[in-house]
Amino acid sequence: MKNQRRLWLVAALLVTTLIVLAACGGQSTPPPAAPAEEEAPAEAAAPAEESVAEESADDAVTEAPGAEEAAESAVEAEEEQAEDAVASSGDAIPLSMWYHGAGNDEERVVITQIIDDFNASQDQYVVEMQDFPQNSYNESIVAGALAGNLPDIIDMDGPIMPNWAWSGYLAPLDLPEGTLDGYLPGAIGRWDDQVYSVGLWDAAVAMFARRSVLEENDIRIPTLEEPWTKDEFDAALETLQATGEFEYAFDPGMAWTGEWYPYAFSPFLQSFGGDIIDRETYLSAEGVLNGPEAVEFGEWWQSLFERGLAPGTSQDSADRDTGFIDGRYALQWNGNWAAVPALEAYGDDMLFLPAPDFGNGPTIGAASWQFGVSADSEHQEGANDFVVFALQPKYSAAFSDVLGLAPTTVEAAAMTENYAPGGPLEVFYELSKQQALIRPPTPAYLSAALVFEKALADIANGADVVTSLDAAVDEINADIDANNGYGFQ
């Protein structure tokens, strides 16, 4: 009997859950014109329409010949006008937007402000944002594309843009002439001679160092005009390591796996004269990723770990986060997002130095998150309007202040706390302007970046340089071939 009662209990539970499930099933594909009454512009429009309806109804009463007919006409007119008012309040077309910053409250404040300002600036569109955790954002976009569920406005990491444009996820932007004048090149996403995305900030990498450490060891402080040469940089590392004061002379950031590797380390390769993909044809990595310059880079890279100058791939992310600030690493290759904590730790002693010149000019990575318009959007014009609206310097400055990243124009930089002339991070703006080189703007980059990361990790772990680079070239070329050159011929 007890068991029977349990069985009935389970059955009842099942039925209840099924009912709950059925009730929860209403949030699937939203109708094209989702209600926009909650948004300010629509709300503002509704009362005006209501008053028109009331006036029309009053008119109908006075003009109608008979009392009953007049009453009926008035009711009908009132109903019609009320419907019109509702329709009109829903006239503001909702524009969906996906954003990568879930969990970042400071960033959310700025992006929400931009959306609110845009929504208030006109009554044709209402932007509605859905934010995602950054670490799963790209997968959500690709899944959304497969399911035919992409939003109108997408934000994306710069180097991924060509792949998404090539895949047909994005529509080119239609920017008014002069919009991008004076823009940092890294913040502009170009593919196939068209602009598909534009960012409100750019990330820049510098060599974090302490003036006192360099001066104590008679190491020249490099400048943008005269960066360290390869020999100077190597000698500096040897000197710093020999002091015995540091666990490692140089922390490149091996613990930060993923996009950090191609973003932060491919500039070294480029400065040696190599690259991830041949930028003349975008059809092969042959000769650039395994040519003599690339091999020279690979051997230098491997020597950093063999000579014990840098922590290897087993570096703990905690050490990456605290090693420089704790004084265990003498130099650190790091981004402007980490600059403020370093400044707080070392104050005036803190230096942000330009990338060394390994023979082919100093280079740092470029391109951060940018806005674009979905190719599937039924309201591309509105989505485009939003992107154009968001590109105002004041918003770029606001993002810079909360994220610590570089604003995109001189005008925006002047509005910021850190990047204004004389500001503590001004050097990053100049670094972006003078040294930045975007990662290869090709759809193949998505796959090539992973291959490059593996090759660098293997080389750091002692793998044969030539074999590793040749294998990487083969893999990248195979991917390009499998995709018919990604549109390049």
Partner: protein
């Protein structure tokens, strides 16, 4: 060495080994809970010493307050509990029914069907994720807004594809096959229907396998990550593992991560501990010991 000393040595060795094994499993949990009360920088500084496992330094509940401020943690936990519970309830019912048919009934082709089900073991979920996404994004649904297409951004898209799975069916089949067939025959002679046999004979003596399946399936459902990021764009339906991403920003909030992990570990621990008791009781009261 006396007999007493030998016994004492053996006992000491056994307990030392058991304590070491327990420590291997318990220390990460201890680290997580202790760290959840420490500031982020202190967690990193303590991580290379024994202090990582000790409640020392600047301890507070701040990480918990900050974690609940940063993300709708309660919503994520509610979503995961709902999805896990409903999938478990439906899954245990349907999987055990399927296994009953495969293990206890006699019908043509049951061997082939079982083989096909087991063969699906070798197909990883990642292989079918994309086709499944395209199917569920086009399936009809009825909700508050009426009839529409597409299951994206719902609870049931996170539940229905996972109700029945080959491993759970296989688990039940193996257990049901070990039960004495005489029980079923006796029930048939007494006039019981197949469902009555399932409900009144098989289920009451299958507590251990139900508990085991619930624990294994519950863990899988609680840890769902890939599928939710593909089918759920709305924050309203996100489960706990997707919510973890809220804490990985440019500068990772380690303290909040530990607090979040401590909070989301509680429900799964409760599930495990509650089923562990059922598991023991089922063995004790099953009355089938061969």
């Amino acid at each position: 060495m006396t007999q007493k000393s030998k016994v004492r040595l053996a006992t000491t060795s056994r307990y030392t080994l058991m304590i070491l094994l327990a420590a291997i499993f318990a220390l990460p949990l201890l680290f997580m809970v202790i760290s959840s009360f420490k500031p982020g920088l202190q967690i990193l500084q303590d991580s290379s010493s024994l202090r990582a496992f000790l409640p020392v330094g600047d301890l507070s509940m701040q990480n918990y307050f900050d974690a609940f401020d940063r993300a709708p943690v309660a919503r994520f936990i509610f979503n995961s509990i709902l999805v896990t519970t409903v999938t478990l309830a439906l899954g245990l019912f349907f999987c055990s029914l399927a296994a009953f048919a495969l293990a206890c009934l006699r019908w043509k082709g049951q061997g082939i069907v079982l083989t096909i089900i087991i063969a699906t073991f070798i197909v990883p979920f990642e292989t079918i994720a994309v086709p499944l996404l395209m199917i569920v994004s086009r399936l009809p649904t009825i909700g508050a807004e009426g009839f529409s297409y597409g299951w994206l951004n719902t609870y049931h898209v996170q539940i229905i594809p996972f109700i029945v799975d080959a491993f759970t069916i296989f688990l039940f089949v193996q257990f049901f096959k070990s039960l004495p067939y005489d029980l079923i025959e006796a029930a048939r002679i007494d006039g019981a229907s197949w469902f009555q046999i399932y409900a009144r004979i098989i289920v009451p003596v299958s507590g251990p396998v139900f508990a085991t399946a619930a624990i294994l399936k519950g863990l899988v459902m609680w840890n769902q990550y890939l599928w939710p990021i593909m089918v759920v764009q709305s924050e309203q339906y996100r489960p706990v593992m997707v919510g973890l991403g809220y804490f990985f920003q440019l500068n990772t909030a380690w303290g909040e991560i530990m607090a979040y992990l401590s909070v989301i570990t509680i429900p799964i621990l409760v599930l495990f501990l509650s089923l562990q008791r059922v598991f023991v009781e089922s063995i004790a009261s099953s009355g089938i010991k061969g």
